[in-house]
Symmetry: C3
Subunit: 269 residues, 3 copies
């Protein structure tokens, strides 16, 4: 049987202006030139663990389940924070132990979380300022050549995990929700899933609802970004399954001034 | 005979800061990990169909003729705009039916333009906000595995096509031309081809000419970007075969303030 | 024996917004679709030869020694500046003869420097404005298919080479050093190596030292970017072996206002 081509994805805050990403790929290609390396993004806001957590959640399920996802947003590089390898039914994840995989822990039947301690797989000398090159990249490359999880380190239970923001009831028929992410088009991606919203509606007699986003009140769900008048804020369930606020031919982020981490409200009557 | 490695190119306005491009590549790799995926650019100004049209025109002829070019600048995503597959002697093109392939229709002996209707090749569920992931990416991947055009949908004739801006005579020996594109170096790329310009000169007795670009008058053709004094605007036939205005050690766009879509004039005496 | 997959890296100032990089890759894939093409960066400041020189130095040693590195920062394109192919124990380098390989000449036992004159390997017509597409890309692709150095042109000795900035003594126990590069995190990467610094300390009785960087005085070497109070400037030996100035949760470049090319001082007592 032909061996399947191994896939490694990279998601970092390294940017594309320096040599960092290219150097990581050089290390990987030196170990396993057969690996197919795919960039998710390298433009995470420096040190923004929450943004990276949202991005890896949004993409991993579109890759084959044997894919090795490397997530390096790592403000603690050079300290004693641990390096992790996580297995799940839908992929492998290599990252620092700083909560950046919190959505993965929540989404999937996790197989194991192991601390990576097998430093003979690391690049020498390990400088302590670039673990993407010295630790995460080479470990991913060795895994893509068949090195097994049990060779990398022991299972742990006390890995770092953020409480993920969930919609919260505030009085009768009302929920406080959060904006999780702003994309390049200025769409505000929230934490309200379609399933959760349907549940709310089903519990209501009138099935009427309104979203309150800053000054804007939205009373319907659109089915295309092209709905609404110019610069009108619309609500739409986006490609990640979450409610988004958007603007036809406009940028909802600029129009509302509402950024990641901010609240909005849904009322059902 | 060894099967040739299939090539898929991507040209979008998705940017690189989100997961969108990585996710498209995940979908493609899930269907055909053997495909070589090459980014043209993802930094098209959001929804700028004309810019994308110019960019795909500038690049496709440098790829093998079996290449599958995917162009996703798609303000109409989620509406009933059609998805197209276009065959030509110099490549295949997958794009929304919004005119983004207008230069391709003009350049090449088009084989066929088909509407993609074979939705069993789409990702399910198709969310209506991300057809790069749900439609264009998977169709390209299936084509790269050998799915034929006739399996994808029926030929159509009424696909959308822009009138491409051509130089126009304005009085005797004068033409009004247009700037089509500004590149990262600030070069102003126009719609005047070298062939067209030679024709103009041949029709003149004196073979003298001047370009009028805003306040700037240029009376010669340079052969290198290094000609001219610092910040002087020069005229040069660029790598795409069109006349460009440029500035030695400077940025012609910043110096002239003349952007894409603006007119300039050529006078021949 | 299975032939090893050839690797070509690209380091340019072409940016990612135009079609330039994609077009280069199309040319390479047309000649050798088996080559693995890896981007180092394309965001070098336009025409900044020194920045590109630093970046190629920082990355090449992390690639297999058979790798072909293409460096195109080329303000002299279209003039009679030469195109070079350089062999070394740690890789091949293709670049214009403008000093962009100065660190390579200094770092490595150079095998040969040859002028590339074999224009039957170039793309025709060569327009004179885009040698990345017409010269450097195709030559790299042909090399990756096995075309030998001696087929490309004759050895030369008078290639262009910059004097690299080295720390200089200024009075007793003091050195003037330089900032070479600012990375995306705002770290100031200097030209003082760890080896050189240790030498200075060894020559001192008290082994006390201070770095003077603008208004900031730093008296210790940190071992992680997380040391220091918020926005305090710290000194650390970085991943390229050079001293860097950094700021915990801050941007040292913004805090100090000190950019590439600026001096700082080290005093040992």
């Amino acid at each position: 049987m032909a061996k399947k081509q191994p896939i490694i994805t990279l998601l970092t805050d390294f940017g594309l202006q320096d040599h960092f990403v290219g150097t990581m790929k050089g290390v990987i290609a030196s170990i396993n030139p057969e690996a197919l390396v795919i960039d998710i993004t390298h433009d995470v806001v420096p040190h923004d663990i929450f943004q990276a957590a949202f991005l890896i959640k949004s993409t991993y399920q579109y890759f084959p389940p044997s894919t090795i996802h490397v997530v390096v947003v790592d403000p603690g590089v050079g300290t004693n924070r641990r390096a992790l390898i996580v297995s799940s039914e839908r992929g492998y994840f290599i990252a620092p132990d700083n909560g950046v995989l919190s959505y993965i822990y929540a989404d999937e039947g996790i197989g194991e979380v192991r601390e990576i301690t097998a430093d003979h797989y690391f690049l020498k000398p390990r400088t302590g300022t670039f673990d993407g090159r010295d630790v995460f990249g080479p470990v991913a490359a060795w895994m893509s050549k068949g090195v097994g999880l049990s060779s990398l380190g022991e299972p742990i239970e006390d890995y770092k995990k953020y409480d993920l923001p969930k919609p919260e009831p505030v009085g009768q028929g009302a929920m406080r929700c959060k904006i999780l992410y702003i994309d390049r088009f200025g769409n505000l991606v929230s934490n309200l899933t379609q399933a959760h919203f349907e549940e709310l509606l089903d519990a209501s007699e009138k099935r009427r609802f309104a979203f309150q986003v800053g000054e804007h009140t939205i009373g319907k769900i659109s089915s295309s970004y092209t709905e609404g008048n110019d610069n009108e804020i619309i609500a739409i369930f986006g490609s990640t399954g979450f409610l988004e606020f958007s603007a036809n031919k406009g940028n909802a982020f600029k129009l509302t001034g509402i950024g990641a981490g901010k609240d909005f409200f849904v009322k059902v009557a």
